[in-house]
């Protein structure tokens, strides 16, 4: 028999190599084989972590003084030096190789040569495009259609390399080399600054260049784009031909000869676009009353200065040796935060200018390392607000240069260039700068924290908006922004932005949202729209072709969910303003303290609905003030909440239900404490169930029973499931551990303790019945209490019992203490689980969406059939780590973002080489972290593959000791990565099919046998990922909760889990069984890879096997037909069909 291996193929890196290293080996390793092996490791860069084995000679040879210093340094500065080494490696990784540089140089040379031979053309009117051979279009949106001026083509006056490449700060992966072609002076006219004449000539010139290049075979592809999304500054993107075509891009910029225009013409308060020309209407404006056009001015001025900037930066670079490395690190940092691309970004050029500013103001010195440069610049960014106090690089600006105040009046963010005339941050919105500042602040916070892997958080973790912001919404139909410009009367601004209504409306929308959301949010961010790119043969795309604009909200968890927006008192002057902002939603309200104020009340009964309050605010405000209809606003923030949505009248995600359970438990706990007449007193009552820490996927709900649905038990007043009826409603027993006082009266014998516990259960039951009239069912192992529609399962515990279980007397009468599984299981149930439950309950009090994230994560794990491997407690711990160690993010404040980060954690964490430390209650110190890490490294091979350390469990990883296995973890990581990709794509792309449940439907074709279950007998059917249309009566009356007393319901009776247990007991050696515990109707079976290998006949291993006799040799193989038959037999009544996928394995 042969069988394909599906999951079980493991990559080499997960295969632990033999790690048994101890010092005794050293003696034997004296001779040859050691050295060659070591050399091999370093040469080939083997992926496996081998223990370092130095020969005795190597270890004990006399040290040189230099080596001694080296070693001492490494010993004392480990944390720092590791970070340094890591950054050096990173720099190597992103730097351009020599080969690449040669390629670039040769291509640039080709392009330059081609450009120099551009043929001249006769002079024509600007609007006359006949000289262009229709194959190439002009990269410009001609609004209004015409402008004055004459134009002709001529070879560029000069061609130079500018930007990051000559500075040596160009980095992978998007290598862009900027090439600057200067328009000859005779094409331009000094008056061309007016009415877009210069930008249009610039575009024509670029089209002329493109036309010439198009005929050349040395150019790969040619596309137009524009610089930082500014349509006035089109650029030409060239790639080399052949297979290198995607490895780098050359951007051809066009600019006027230096000093051609007077910089004073571009003062932010001057006007360079006439209303008359722009609107086409005769207007009686004199030049002085024309509105200023600061953005237009700065875009033209920006074209004049690139050479000067390059010279300035080159001068700075020659002073400071680590300058380029510092910029490179800063660029990587910016790239990971998506701040370095698009309109109004903080790009590499600004980063270099910032470093230059810091150098000039002596905030950093020339001798600092790249590490220090990065640190100081982030520190500066975090502490400086360029939106109120701009900075200038100009040492002694001439008298015509505008002052900082004038810049601030025209622009939101101010950073003036060395000439003193240009604001380099002209397009940046205040929100973007605030985001930058926030990121820098967060980075500085975790940089020094020794418990955080600083390098990784700082430079290696990408922070896309969907995973960073708690809520995300998108404006889809951007054409609608035109209407908002009109509504807000932004004509002059529109003119300034040359008709880019999107950029015009953005600052207004941002300030509107900021005002409306107020204290509810900590940060409002927006996506920087990417630079459009289009083919040279097509017209420039319209503004409406831009992708949707995304906004991210970082919520203030305390205030975000409040449904009331309390305004000023009715008679205060601010009331009018408030009414103006909120429109008809604002109404006068009288409060309990007698105050009568304006107020807005939003809908929201459950926590789920309250999470949607920002959505209500946003849609209302945009509709009211910006004429953007609700259909254009796509709110992404709560889309995944769907999968844990329950509730009949009011949709909830389980917070309210969990609260009911916890309150009921608190009541029970109080009542237990008050019980008297017990032989020993109660020392602790602790919850040990996910429902008591708000993390049960579908929290138990109080139910009332329909007695006629059940059989009645004879012995006790209890209900029994009836044959032939659908399986009754599943009632989860909520485990409560009740510790009894230690006393000499406890016997010192395991079986006797078991009996005493049973006696306690009986007497507790009697007391609860007598005082509170609860129906109870005492059993030897637990006591079930039926209380207000919920069932609590009380287990009496004695703290010395695990110790008693470990002790035994051996043959010589010696008392030995041996750890065993029974004791471990008992400790887990009575000590560790209650502790975890109470700790996580505390976490929920701090972070209100902790429970919801856990529930979502566990729902996903269950749906993807991982719930047996990544247990509930493990999943809760993983989620807890997201809240306790959020770096580089802030703790999640919405379930969805938490869930996305959970998927990322699961898929991207390096489980092989790192322990995941969950610092519950902040109990671990830095020293303990190191200790955990060292212990982990020392005994990696013997530890669980997924290692989670907590303050109470530093060495063993109790929760993952049994599962997952290497293979299952590997698969979980793979599935998580894939789910994350699909989900993020769906969330961010509104045009996609909208069904977040896609990630909850695992493909079943990898499995060998599918057992289809009868939905009638699946009690949790209504929680299935795709709830079926038909539902079965399960003996529950949909009314308020039951009264105390009454018959005991059917507790913890779930045929599916009973069946699974039986299957695993019987066939666990041969196959793995997977099932979604929440309403899954399919059990997937996977044969173990070794199951079908014929084995020799052994009396102890004959389960479900048949023999094959060949001569005297007897081999055994699994009796598959009989096993498949057994699947039927053992699940009679539950199994609908067994589907053997024999095409995957042969009989």
């Amino acid at each position: 028999m042969k069988k394909k291996q599906i999951i079980t193929e493991e990559p080499a890196e997960m295969h632990p190599s033999d790690f048994s290293h101890d010092d005794d080996d050293e003696e034997e390793q004296l001779d040859a084989p050691v050295k060659p092996k070591r050399i091999k490791v370093s040469e080939e860069e083997e992926v496996v972590y081998h223990p370092v084995k130095l020969s005795r000679n190597d270890l004990y040879r006399p040290p040189t003084a230099e080596e001694l210093n080296h070693l001492k340094e490494a010993e004392s500065l480990f944390h720092c030096s590791l970070l340094k080494m890591q950054m050096e490696e990173l720099l190597k990784e992103v730097a351009l190789s020599e080969r690449k540089k040669q390629q670039i140089d040769s291509f640039v040379k080709t392009v330059t040569k081609l450009l120099e031979t551009v043929p001249a053309s006769p002079e024509v009117e600007v609007s006359d495009l006949s000289w262009l051979s229709g194959a190439v279009k002009v990269p410009f949106l001609l609004v209004p259609r015409t402008t004055k001026g004459r134009f002709h083509m001529a070879p560029p006056a000069s061609i130079d390399l500018i930007g990051s490449y000559p500075l040596g700060t160009c980095i992978k992966p998007h290598v862009r080399v900027d090439l600057l072609a200067t328009i000859p002076a005779d094409i331009l006219h000094p008056k061309d600054v007016l009415n877009q004449r210069y930008p249009r000539k610039r575009a024509l010139y670029l089209a002329g260049l493109a036309q010439h290049l198009k005929s050349s075979p040395d150019i790969g592809t040619m596309r137009y784009s524009c610089l930082h999304g500014n349509r006035l500054q089109p650029i030409l993107l060239l790639t080399p031909p052949g297979k290198d075509s995607s490895s780098f891009t050359v951007c051809v910029h066009v600019c006027p000869p230096p000093g051609f225009f007077k910089p004073s013409r571009f003062h932010p308060q001057r006007n360079n676009i006439r209303t008359e020309w722009y609107t086409g209407l005769q207007a009686s404006h004199s030049e002085s009353s024309e509105p200023p056009t600061p953005h237009y001015n700065s875009s033209v001025l920006g074209d004049l200065l690139p050479r000067a900037h390059l010279q300035f930066l080159s001068a700075i670079r020659s002073q400071c040796s680590a300058f380029s490395d510092g910029i490179t690190l800063l660029k990587v940092w910016l790239h990971q935060r998506e701040l370095d691309q698009g309109t109004g970004c903080f790009n590499g050029f600004l980063a270099s200018m910032l470093l230059a500013y810091l150098l000039m103001t002596h905030r950093i010195s020339n001798t600092m390392t790249a590490y220090q440069l990065l640190r100081n610049s982030l520190n500066y960014l975090a502490s400086t607000d360029l939106t109120v106090s701009g900075i200038s690089l100009a040492k002694d600006p001439d008298s015509t240069a505008p002052s900082l105040v004038e810049f601030h009046n025209a622009f939101q963010v101010v950073f003036v260039d060395p000439s003193g005339h240009l604001n380099m941050c002209a397009d940046m919105t205040a929100c973007t700068y605030k985001q930058l500042q926030h990121e820098a602040f967060v980075s500085m916070q975790f940089w020094d924290d020794p418990t955080v892997d600083g390098f990784h958080c700082l430079l290696m973790t990408p922070k896309p908006m969907i995973r960073t912001s708690d809520h995300v919404f998108q404006l889809c139909d951007l054409v609608k922004l035109q209407a908002s410009c009109k509504k807000q009367n932004l004509l002059s601004e529109l003119m300034d932005h040359s008709g880019n209504y999107f950029l015009t409306a953005l600052p207004f929308i941002l300030s509107l949202l900021q005002q409306g959301l107020g204290q509810r949010i900590r940060l409002l961010t927006h996506s920087l729209s990417p630079d459009p790119e289009w083919s040279v043969e097509s017209e420039a795309p319209k503004y409406k072709a831009q992708p949707p604009l995304s906004f991210g909200l970082l919520l203030n968890p305390e205030l975000v969910a409040s449904v009331l927006e309390k305004g000023p008192p009715a008679d205060s002057p601010k009331a009018a303003e408030f009414r103006q902002l909120w429109g008809s939603r604002s109404e006068l309200r009288r409060f309990q303290d007698g105050a009568i104020t304006e107020a807005v009340l939003w809908d929201g009964k459950s926590a789920y609905q309250k999470r949607l309050v920002p959505k209500q605010i946003i849609t209302h405000l945009l509709q009211l003030h910006a004429d953007i209809p609700e259909s254009c606003v796509r709110f992404v923030g709560t889309m995944v909440d769907d999968v844990i949505l329950t509730g009949n009248e009011v949709p909830t995600t389980g917070e309210e239900e969990s609260l009911v359970v916890v309150q009921s438990y608190d009541d029970l706990s109080r009542k237990l404490w008050k019980l008297e007449d017990l032989p020993l007193s109660i020392t602790a009552v602790q919850g040990a169930h996910p429902a008591l820490r708000y993390t049960q996927v579908f929290p138990p709900e109080p139910v009332k029973l329909d007695y006629s649905f059940f059989d009645r038990g004879k012995a006790c007043r209890s209900l029994l499931p009836k044959e032939g009826k659908p399986c009754p409603h599943y009632i989860t027993p909520i485990t409560v551990i009740c510790h009894m006082e230690g006393s000499g009266k406890w016997p010192h014998d395991r079986i006797a303790i078991r009996h005493i516990r049973a006696a306690f259960h009986i007497s507790l039951a009697e007391l609860l019945k007598k005082h509170h009239n609860y129906t109870c069912r005492p059993c030897p192992t637990h006591l079930d209490v039926w209380k207000e529609g919920l069932v609590f399962r009380i287990q009496v515990a004695y703290h010395r019992e695990p110790q008693v279980l470990r002790e035994s007397v051996n043959a010589e009468g010696l008392l030995v203490v041996r750890d065993n599984e029974e004791a471990q299981a008992l400790e887990m149930a009575t000590i560790h689980k209650p502790l975890l439950t109470s700790t996580l309950h505390g976490l929920q009090q701090q972070h209100s969406c902790f429970g919801a994230v856990c529930r979502m994560a566990k729902r996903w794990l269950a749906a993807q059939l991982f719930s047996e491997d990544i247990t509930e407690d493990t999943a809760d711990l993983l989620v807890a780590s997201l809240f306790l160690h959020p770096a580089p993010f802030s703790p999640p404040s919405s379930p969805q973002v938490g869930f996305l980060r959970f998927l990322r954690l699961l898929s991207a964490f390096d489980w092989r080489n790192n322990p995941l430390v969950v610092n519950l209650n902040n109990q671990l110190t830095a020293a303990e972290y190191t200790e955990i890490k060292n212990d982990f490294m020392a005994s990696r091979e013997s530890l669980p593959v997924m290692f989670i350390a907590t303050p109470k469990d530093k060495k063993l990883s109790l929760w993952t000791r049994r599962a997952p296995s290497v293979q299952m973890l590997q698969r979980a990581m793979m599935v998580a990565a894939e789910s994350l990709k699909v989900l993020e794509h769906q969330l961010m792309d509104g045009s996609q099919m909208q069904d977040v449940r896609v990630i909850m439907r695992p493909p079943l074709d990898a499995y060998d046998v599918l057992i289809h279950l009868n939905p009638k007998q699946v009690p949790l059917l209504r929680h299935a990922v795709d709830p079926p249309a038909v539902s079965f009566s399960r003996g529950v009356i949909a009314e308020s909760a039951a009264q105390p007393g009454g018959a005991l319901p059917v507790i913890d009776y779930n045929p599916v889990s009973l069946y699974l247990t039986e299957l695993r007991d019987a066939f666990g050696d041969l196959a793995l069984f997977f099932c979604d515990p929440y309403g899954g109707t399919v059990i997937s079976v996977l044969w173990k890879p070794k199951a079908f290998v014929p084995a020799p006949f052994k009396t102890s291993q004959m389960a479900a096997r048949s023999v094959e006799v060949t001569g005297e040799e007897v081999k055994t193989i699994p009796n598959v037909e009989a096993i498949l038959e057994d699947f039927h037999v053992m699940g009679k009544g539950l199994v609908k069909s067994v589907e053997a996928r024999t095409e995957k394995w042969m009989l």
């Binding site: 040290p63 490696e89 399986c727 010696l814 203490v817 023999v1107």
Partner: protein, 282 residues
């Protein structure tokens, strides 16, 4: 699979090397597939158990999980009357010890394939079983003797898991009485032992080797370890460290070797991270 290969042995017992006879078993008359039981007379040299008399005990392998002891008893009754059936997870000698527990206090049995020891009344039944033709299957569930599985069985299990509190209390009480009695007896015995070691009237002490487990001082592994450690500490205190020059030199050498090793390890860790592309930021 297997049945087809053994067609030639029709109406005959099928014996495989190792001495096992193959019996086939099917759940009900209309089931298509069969399990195979492997039976042999129980024969162990060392065991002298009265539970499993050698000449009358049948050793059966691969009994499916749905066959309880009573079902097995019924199945094998066709070969002669059965005295007792013992089902176990693994073959081996019986090791039942300790006080007899009430059913509710025993851990639940796992549903898995088992081995069985069937004791017949007469040894002729053994031969009958061993010569049973292998293509005449034993049938587990028949109309007159249905075996419950699946939902029916789970409902039955659930129903049976109920025990009346009074009954439970009785069980507990009787066990604890037993336990107390045993404890008392034990205490009594120890007291007697101690008494024996008391001086008699003339001042003589009778010294005997005590009964197992009646040691005078507490005897545990932990105590042993403690004593050993104490000795070790004492020894170490006497030893002189870094006294001789060679000792001092050795310590320093060791320290440098340690540092070297650590440095190598760090270097390698970085190399490993590089190899795994851990420094590629995007």
């Amino acid at each position: 699979m297997a049945p087809s290969k053994k067609k030639h042995a029709a109406r005959k017992a099928c014996v495989i090397p190792g001495g096992f006879t193959v019996l086939s078993l099917q759940f009900s008359l209309d089931s298509a597939a069969r399990h195979f039981l492997y039976v042999k007379e129980h024969r162990v040299r060392a065991e002298k158990s009265s539970y499993r008399p050698l000449d009358r005990t049948l050793f059966v392998l691969n009994i499916p999980p749905y066959c309880s002891e009573s079902v097995v008893k019924d199945l094998f009754s066709q070969f002669g009357s059965v005295v007792s059936v013992e089902l176990r997870d693994h073959p081996g000698s019986s090791s039942e010890s300790g006080p007899k527990l009430s059913k509710v206090f025993r851990p639940a049995d796992k549903e898995r394939f088992k081995v069985g020891y069937i004791v017949f009344e007469s040894s002729s039944s053994l031969a009958a079983a061993k010569s049973h033709p292998h293509d005449d299957p034993l049938v587990v569930s028949t109309e007159e003797r249905p075996v419950k599985t699946g939902v029916q069985k789970w409902i039955q299990q659930y129903t049976k898991s109920f025990i009346h509190p009074d009954k439970l209390q009785l069980t507990v009480d009787s066990f604890m009485q037993d336990y107390d009695k045993r404890k008392e007896e034990e205490a009594e015995r120890q007291r007697q032992e101690v008494e024996k070691q008391q001086e008699d009237e003339e001042g003589w002490v009778k010294v005997t080797r005590g009964h197992k487990g009646a040691k005078a001082r507490p005897h545990s592994e932990a105590a042993n370890k403690r004593t050993l450690q104490r000795e070790m500490r004492k020894k170490r205190r006497k030893e002189l460290m870094n006294f001789y020059t060679w000792q001092h030199r050795n310590t320093q050498k060791e320290h440098i070797a340690e540092l070297r090793k650590k440095f190598e390890e760090d270097k390698q860790r970085i190399a490993l991270m590089r190899a795994q592309r851990k420094f590629k930021p995007y």
